[in-house]
Every structure is written in C-alpha cells, then in structure tokens.
C-alpha cells in the first residue's frame, strides 16, 4: 500500500534533450493511474524514472513520502511488467517468478507458497516447470505479471504490457489486469498509447504530450471536458472533428464553414477566432432538415454495430466524421442534414489550443 508523489520531476538527457518538463503528480494509495500519449511523449521515460531505470535530472519522486531519487531500483519495492515480457529465458516459469524473492532472502517454503499462490491466481499452475519460450504470448505475459505480484510490491509499473498481444487477447488481458489490480489493491502506474486501454483501466488518466502532462483527470472527465485541442484529438475514436470558427458578436454563437451558426451553452468573447471541436458521435442526423449543418458523403465504413461516414463540409470541403449507431445506407455525394447539441461543442484557443 503506497502513494507515489512526483514533485517537478524532470528528465534531461546528456545530449541536452529534455524528455520530461517538470511533472507534479500525486498517486493515491491503490489508485490505477494510466499514462497515455503518442510515441515520444515521455510517458515511458516517466515510468522508468519511477522504476529507477532512468535517472531523475531535477525534482523529486517519492514512494510513501520517502524520496527515492537515489534509491536503487531493487530497493524501491516496485515491480514492473515489460512490453516484451522480459522473462529470463534460461529459467523455467517457477524460477522466473521466484528469482526476485530468492534475491531478497525469503525462505524456500515461503517462496514456494507465494509462487504457487500467484500461479493459482493467474492459472499458470500447469506451466510452472516449462521454460518461457514454450508458452504463448498471453501466457508469457501472465508469467511476467506473476513475477510482479509474488513480491507484493508497493507499486506496480506496467510498460505497454499488452502491445505485443493480438486484439482479442488484449481485451481479455485488459480485464484480467483490471480485475487483479482491484483485488490486490496495489497502487499502479500503467503506460499505453492505446486510448481504449487508457479509458477502460484508469481511475485517473494522465494525457502526456511533449514531456508535459496536458491533462490529469478521470477518464470521463478527460473525454467530456478535454483541457486542450491535443487531448480532445487524442482521446476518443474516431478522433474529434475540428473546424475553424469565429465567435459571433452576441457571444452566444460560433460561426463555422460558410456562415453556419452553432449555438453555444456558454459565453465566449465576441469576434474571436476559435477552433470548434465536435465528436463524431455527438453529431445528430435529421431527415426533416432542421439541422444547421449540411454535408456531403465522401466515404462510408459499416462496422455492423455502428456506421462511420466521412463527410465534406462547407466550401472548403473540411473533413467531418459522423458516427451513427446501427447500419445505414448512404450513396456517395448524398447530402446529410446534421445538428449538434450546444453542450457538446468544445471550443479551443487557436494559438495555444487551450480549452475556452
């Protein structure tokens, strides 16, 4: 049981590249925190700094109020699950799980009990005598998880643990990880670039971009009130539609495309240029023509449960994606009449990308 605190944590590489620009964060006891962002955003670096695999250039990282900047990785009482499993190929699965305990001087009987218990939880009992290479990807990842849980560490660190698995297995393992973490109640930090994993696993989501935490909040909060255009575009699939817009003089509307006025639920400075964000699932289609947006169908993807339509909007033929439940038949060039509820419109500053 532990908390993890980052106090202006920074990472500058010897070549001068600054990977992490001062991150402040407090992870509560038992909380499942997910670091999400595109590749190169520094999420893995941050995780590795917590693990002690990367040094901390400035600021402090504490586990349970004890500063660990100079503490060796093995003494931080953390366990990490790697993307490529990182199992010891020359040891059988039992020894893989027992290795960390052996080095910490636990008795043989104690080690055996812990390994068997972990194997039971992860359904690995039949595979303990085998070598990692004799297992499938999902089983290997389970052994890697077993290696982490036998130690009952203060903090679990996950570095994209599901990226090497196929799609179906990824969903199964995702549920398993969530389940396991809730059962064990161990503080966890999880790194992923997959926003579905991020949304489903996180108690709290940290969206990172360019070494900065763009937004920290619950998954739903991040989805409903993205703090910046970057977050808005990154979270949600298909990605949010962005249109150039201008606030009207009455401060209650915003104009997009060829003078289409959309109603807002909050006031905005009149005449200001803004970026208007609308999620594909929040566009509503009307057959009676009283929507304000008209757009022509360019391409359609039918997924069965839902239909994605890619539309051309306005004179500049801006791309707009529409997401509808169920199946729909559209022909190319067909005009659709759409509207969007005022509370579902997001406005961002054109320069800074910050939410207005």
């Amino acid at each position: 049981m532990a908390t993890v605190t980052l106090n202006k944590a920074e990472k500058t590489y010897p070549n001068g590249y600054k990977a992490i620009h001062g991150i402040d964060l407090k992870i509560d006891d038992g909380e499942f925190t997910v670091l999400v962002g595109p590749s190169g955003c520094g999420k893995s670096t941050l995780l590795r700094m917590i693990a002690g695999l990367e040094g901390i250039s400035d600021g402090e990282i504490s586990i349970d109020d004890k500063v660990v900047n100079k503490v060796a990785p093995a003494d931080r009482d953390i366990a990490m699950v790697f993307q490529n499993y990182a199992l010891y190929p020359h040891m059988n699965n039992y020894d893989n799980m027992a290795y960390g305990l052996k080095n910490r001087g636990h008795s043989k009987a104690e080690i055996d009990a812990k390994v068997r218990e972990a194997a039971r939880i992860l359904q690995l009992e039949d595979y303990l005598e085998r070598k990692p290479r004799q297992l499938s990807g999902g089983q290997r990842q389970r052994v890697a998880m077993g290696r982490a849980i036998v130690r009952q560490p203060k903090v679990f660190l996950f570095d994209e643990p599901l990226s090497n698995l196929d799609a179906k297995l990824r969903v199964d393992m995702r549920l398993e990880i969530k389940n396991l973490q809730q059962r064990l109640g161990i503080t966890s930090v999880y790194v992923t670039h997959d926003q579905v994993e991020a949304m489903t696993l996180a108690d709290r989501l940290i969206v990172m971009n360019g070494g900065v935490a763009e937004q920290i909040g619950s998954p739903i909060d991040v989805y409903e009130r993205p703090a910046s255009q970057f977050v808005a575009g990154f979270i949600g699939s298909p990605a949010m539609n962005f249109l150039k817009g201008k606030a009207s003089d009455d401060k209650k509307h915003v104009t997009v495309g060829d003078g289409v006025e959309l109603e807002l639920d909050h006031d905005v400075e009149g005449g200001r240029d803004v970026t208007v964000g609308i999620r594909p699932e929040h566009l509503q289609m009307h057959s009676d023509g009283h929507g304000r947006i008209d757009a022509g169908v360019r391409m359609v993807e039918s997924l069965g449960a839902e239909t994605l339509a890619y539309l051309d909007f306005g004179a500049n033929a801006d791309n707009v994606t529409l997401r509808l439940q169920g199946t729909h038949q559209f022909t190319q060039g067909q005009k659709l009449n759409l509207s969007v509820p005022a509370e579902k419109i997001h406005l961002f500053d054109v320069e800074s990308g910050k939410r207005i």
């Binding site: 693990a51 002690g52 695999l53 060796a72 990785p73 093995a74 003494d75 953390i78 366990a79 990490m80 790697f82 993307q83 490529n84 990182a86 199992l87 010891y88 190929p89 020359h90 290795y99 960390g100 080095n103 070598k131 290479r133 290696r147």
Partner: protein, 292 residues
Amino acid sequence: MKRVQFEHSAVPYLFIAPQILIISIFFLWPAVQALYQSFLLEDAFGLSSQFVWFRNFEDVLSSSSWTRSAIFTVVFSVLVSVLSIAISLFLAVRADEVIRGAKTYKTLLMWGYAIAPPVAGLLGIMMFNPLMGDLYMVFNSFGFEFNHIENPNDAAFVVILIAVWKQVSVNVIFFLSGLQGIPKSIQEAATLDCKSPERRFWTITFPLLAPTTFFLLVINLTYAFFETFGIIDVSTKGAPGGSTATLVYKVYVDGFLGADMGGSAAQSVLLMIMVSVLTVFQFRFIERKVHY
C-alpha cells in the same frame, strides 16, 4: 515426419562444388595420405619405404617424448582456453558497462585480432629476450630468477602468455556481441529483482552468454591445439628440450626436421583421432547444457 522433396536441377551442386573441392584437396587427400604414410617406414633420404603395419604407432605411443608432448598439449590447451575466455569475459563485461568512450575501449580491446600469430610470438619473445626484454627484466628484478631458455615451466609460461594475449581480442569480440544479444529489458528486469551486480551477472548474464562461451571454448581449444604453431615456432621452438612442443609442433619437428615421415604421419593420425573425439565430446555433453 515426411518432408516434401522438390525436384531440383544440378545447380546447387555446382554452388557447393568449390567448397567440396577445397575440402578434398586440402583435407581429405592429405588425411588419406597421412593415414597411408603412417603405415610405412621410410629411409632418411626418401628412396625406399617398407610397409610396417602399426609399428609407427607402437613407437609413437611408447615414446616418452610423445607422452610428454601430449601432456603439455592438454595442459597448454586447457590453460590457454580457460584463461583467455575468463580474461576476455571480464574485459568485455567491463567495457560493455562503460558509457563514456565505450567505442575507444572496444576498438582497443579488439585491436590484437589484427596481429598474426607469428608476429605475436615475435613480440612476445622480444619482451622476454634476456638481453633487452622488458618483461624478462621486470620478473628478474623482483628476484624470480626467471629463465625461459633453461626452465621448462618458465618457457611454458611464456608461450601460454603469448597465446592467451593473442586470443583475448577474438574472444572479446564474440563476448561483446553476445552481450549485445541479451535484451536490455531482461537486464532491467533483473535490476528490479536483484540488487547485487555480481549476483545478477552469475544468475542472468553469464547463463545467457553460455552459448557464446561454449562456442568460444570449441574455438579456443582448436586454436590452442593447432593455431599456436606460429607462436611456438617463432618464440621457443619447443625448447627447452621439447618441453613446449605441442603435438602439432612435434609432428612438424619429427617429420620435416627429423625426416621421420612414418612416425610423423602416425602422430598426425593420432592427433586427428583425438580432435574428433574431443569435438564429439564437446557437442554431446557440453552443448546440451547451455541451450535455453
């Protein structure tokens, strides 16, 4: 399981023909010649020869100088292999940990590879020259009474030193590439699981280097058996009194200098048998334990 056999043309045989030709001319034919010659007794001028069955072998096996050479070869090969592997493993692991100037260290460690064995032998023997050799002076200034020209043990020390020095660079190259082959994440996982670097080395790094080490053991034994010929010929020439003559060197001395063709051929046949047995042994019993 039945494997699919496709019809193919003669082209593949054409491609392997050069290699077959080389093996036939430089190995199979001489081997057969040696086997044939080992049954012959030839006069010193090579004018007449007589078929004597196994007498050459009896002479060789009962001669004390051959036994002595065989014992020296075994001791020499084991020491050269073990020492050069141990030293190069240590150097490679340390060089691998270096962050600043890693390339320079690695290049310098590999440098010795470019030196031919006779040149290494020449360098070595100059270092031990009683008149101007630096190492000779150093040892004697400590009061060792070091004299490789008269003392067999000192002479053995000199050839072993040169042979190890020459081989370390080759081993370093292989160990460095072996270390590169260990995934970084496995080493990182180990740093989370085990605090002591020494323990980590013996439980993770060393077992994962086992295939490299085994390969090098084979290569180094072969090297010590055969390729040290140049070193010995340039440095001690088997002196004093044949105490530093390996079996290969003795074959050359007895056959080409002593003109005992039959005896020399018998020795090389025995050598061939020993090496075959050694190779089979290595692959049978050691390789089985190193694969993971």
